[in-house]
């Protein structure tokens, strides 16, 4: 068995190469820090078993964030692994810095220069490069099978020889006199590496050797390394033609004043395409096909065999076709949503978004890196929370993890579409956009509050690399779409189906196990729902069905829609049949007015995330913060839903303009009071931001 690990700067194509070599489908994107944990897989090449480990990207062997620590620790703990060091051909200088660190470590390095962009930035002389670094160099395109195979050959070759690369020549020029005595306990070959680590003030190394953290030499060592890199570049590379990460497109997309409007326009465009025009059409088509060609024949078959009223037939009718079918019709929309999220990530625009929103983010104590996590939250909070590992300090990680569930995930969209659509019709687009915005606004305010109170983040570096824009290939487009469809189908066929059957059982049988569908008794779920429903009466949705749906929704939010469909005995997948049922006052679950629907939607948006998310949060940010987070979520959901309902009732009673104008009046008065209070406060010289200090100095 040959142990190999993939190491490189963030966003250089490590995972792409990993996928190509092993045939895996790990998530990749044009963003640094997509991979946040080590992943390993075995494969064989030319009769040899190879175990390949994919590691998160790093800049050097001294980590700054949680996910970098994974890689650094792995490299220190496994000195015998063959290290496949991937460099981006377009950004060689900074990539080689890591190569030098690896050589100092004494790793067996194979340098893989990955040509991601079609048009190279400069010409490279690989023979010379290999000579100067003393390692084998391979030039590949990580996504291409034939060129990736070259890496395999190099791995085999390296496994046969015992020769490790020599440390770069500048190492002998460094003055180690101050730390020489500390590292006597390790082997002589490893001494230079640890001495450099001590000189750089690496926390782990200092602890290990009991040396004081004194890092005056950091600049000197970095300068030595870059000096060597410059020598290499001057001999091996032609003059660069352009700068990595800059494009003419940025003139518009990053323009100081245009950036924000352009982003919002793009967002609304994607939104409209996903949920309304294209997605809506596909979704209707899916519902029709499902009803006509799958559910109708199956039900016919079953009811001929068992009789229409038999409980098995009822389960198929209500739980499987009515419940699961109603969720299944959202397949096109969910697939499209995930596709657009991937597009945003793959194109390189995401880094620009983080840059544009930095003005807001730094005010509320979030890092540019949180943007990635929060954006992934629109897809699925469970996977998004994991990416919070690329935060640099614990508080920011906890905070980002707590905020992610407020991003309305794809599972909540069916609720908005079905319930909102019933009462608001074509205007539902505004309701849905409003709900998404509400989630973001609540998250931003909560972040501000946490930053000012208990979760103050340490100074965030917001060192964010700018990748170049990249087009998505046709092949990748289709494989992404297929992957998303598959994931959704697995989810619907697994957890959602199971949960639907459970909800159906609980709602069709009484505590004495009597089949009660059809109104001849009270089911288990109804009993429970009725117990809890008084809590929710002030929010405008006190019926047992809605409360039970909320509880069932804890497993997966899609189940809220399917449960409502079940309680109302809807047997078709088409949304219109659920929608008309919730407007009938004779149904088990119905909404009395638009304001109670709004309040319910707001509650669904803000209350606890699904169990899977909670489990991941539990693992990532700990028990205490997960519980605190859930308490905040419930309190916020209750409060905001209550305000929504009360406001809605007032509008229904007095008319839109009257309420709107009086609210505007109250807002103006409040702002005026706030301004006056602030003015008085500012009179006192307060220490704090630089601007205050300046004006204070003038005044005092």
């Amino acid at each position: 068995m040959i142990d190999v690990c993939l190491v490189g700067n963030p966003n250089t194509g490590k995972t792409t190469l990993y996928n190509t070599l092993t045939g895996s489908h790990e998530h990749v994107g044009n963003w640094h820090g997509v991979t946040v944990e080590e992943k390993a897989v075995k494969y064989s090449f030319a009769g040899q078993d190879i175990r390949l480990v994919d590691l998160p990207g790093i800049y050097s062997l001294t980590p700054l964030s949680f996910e970098e620590k994974v890689s650094a620790d792995y490299l220190v703990a496994h000195p015998d692994n063959i290290v496949v060091n991937i460099c981006d051909a377009s950004n060689l200088q900074r990539n080689l810095y890591l190569t030098l660190c690896l050589l100092e470590r004494g790793c067996k390095v194979i340098l893989v220069v990955n040509q991601i962009d079609k048009r190279p930035i400069c010409k490279l002389d690989f023979v010379k490069l290999s000579e100067m670094l003393g390692v084998n160099v391979v030039y590949v395109n990580a996504g291409d099978k034939t060129s990736a195979a070259k890496v395999n050959e190099q791995i085999l070759q390296a496994s046969k020889s015992d020769i490790k690369a020599l440390p770069p020549k500048y190492v002998s020029e460094i003055d180690f006199s101050s730390v020489k005595d500390c590292v006597r306990s390790v082997q002589p070959a490893e001494q230079p590496f640890y001495m450099i680590k001590l000189l750089e003030g690496d926390e782990d190394a200092c602890k290990k050797f009991g040396a004081p953290q004194n890092a005056t030499a950091v600049e000197k060592i970095a300068a030595k390394r870059y000096e060597f890199i410059e020598q290499i570049m001057s001999k091996c590379a032609s003059a660069p033609e352009r700068v990595y990460g800059q494009s003419k497109l940025d003139k518009i997309l990053l323009n100081r004043f245009l950036a924000l409007p352009v982003f919002l326009l793009l967002l609304v465009g994607c939104f409209y395409l996903t949920f309304f025009s294209l997605g809506g059409l596909l979704s209707d088509l899916a519902a029709t096909l499902l009803d006509k060609y799958i559910s109708a024949p199956v039900i016919n078959l079953l009811s001929n065999a068992l009789g229409y009223e038999h409980w098995v037939v009822s389960m198929f009718r209500v739980a499987i076709f009515g419940g699961v079918g109603s969720v299944l019709t959202f397949l096109p929309q969910v697939a499209l949503l995930f596709f657009f999220l991937s597009l945003l990530e793959d194109s390189g625009y995401l880094s620009r978004v983080a840059f544009v929103f930095e003005d807001v983010l730094c005010k509320v104590g979030l890092s540019g890196k949180s943007v990635y996590t929060l954006l992934m939250g629109f897809g699925c909070s469970t996977t998004a929370v994991l990416t919070a590992r690329n935060m640099e300090d614990k508080n920011s990680k906890i905070k980002t993890g707590l905020l992610t569930p407020y991003m309305s995930c794809s599972a909540k969209f069916p609720i908005y579409a079905v319930l909102g659509g019933a009462f608001f019709g074509a205007n539902n687009i505004f309701v849905i956009i409003g709900l998404y915005l509400l989630g973001v606004v609540v998250a931003v305010l909560l972040s501000y509050l946490l930053e000012k109170t208990v979760l103050k983040s340490k100074q965030q570096s917001f060192i964010l690399e700018f990748p170049p824009y990249r087009m998505m290939s046709v092949k990748r487009t289709f494989s992404l779409l297929w992957l998303n469809v598959k994931q959704f189908l697995v989810r619907v066929g697994g957890i959602i189906l199971a949960m639907n059957v459970i909800v159906w059982l609980l709602s069709s049988f009484s505590f004495t196990f009597k089949f009660v569908a059809g109104g001849n008794g009270v089911s288990m779920l109804e009993t429970l729902g009725r117990m809890l429903s008084p809590i929710f009466r002030p929010l405008g949705f006190g019926s047992w069905g809605l409360v039970s749906a909320l509880i069932a929704g804890l497993v997966a939010k899609e189940v809220i829609v399917s449960s409502i469909a079940m309680f109302n005995g809807v047997e078709e997948s088409a949304l219109s049949s659920i929608q008309s049922s919730i407007m009938l006052s004779t149904s088990a679950v119905y909404f009395a007015s638009p304001s109670s629907v709004l309040s319910y939607l707001v509650f669904c948006l803000l209350y606890f995330p699904c169990i899977a998310s909670c489990a991941v949060l539990f693992k990532e940010i700990g028990k205490k913060w997960t519980l605190i987070g859930m308490a905040i979520e419930f309190a916020l959901a209750y409060l905001v839903a209550f305000v929504t309902y009360t406001l809605g009732r007032t509008v229904e009673a007095f008319g839109f303009w009257q309420v709107g104008l009086s609210l505007a009046g109250i807002a103006i008065v409040a702002v005026a009071i706030a301004l006056i209070v602030r003015k008085f406060k500012n009179k006192k010289c307060s220490q704090g931001c630089a601007r205050c200090n300046k004006s204070c100095k003038k005044d005092c």
Binding site: Y59, S60, T62, L64, N91, L92, Q93, R94, Y97, I121, E200, G201, A215, V218, E219, A222, A223, Y226, P240, V243, Y244, G245, Q246, D250, L254, R256, F257, A259, L260, S351, A354, F355, V356, E358, D359, C362, G368, K458, Q459, Q460, S461, F462, I463, L464, E465, F466
Partner: protein, 55 residues
């Protein structure tokens, strides 16, 4: 500037005598886009404030 971040800046190529170019800044001048060693980096104001730049 905290020591850990200073170390990271060195690793990214911010060493004495390094030429950098300010490409653009965000609307409220809280984030800056800086170009050095043939690549582009976005930095927060607090970091840029900690850099000594001689024109």
């Amino acid at each position: 500037m905290p020591f850990r971040i200073r170390r990271r800046m060195c690793e990214l190529g911010f060493i004495a005598g390094q030429k950098v170019r300010l490409v653009r800044c965000s609307l409220l001048k809280r984030a800056f886009l800086v170009e050095l060693r043939g690549y582009t980096l976005s930095l927060r104001k607090s970091i840029v404030d900690g850099l000594l730049v001689i024109e």
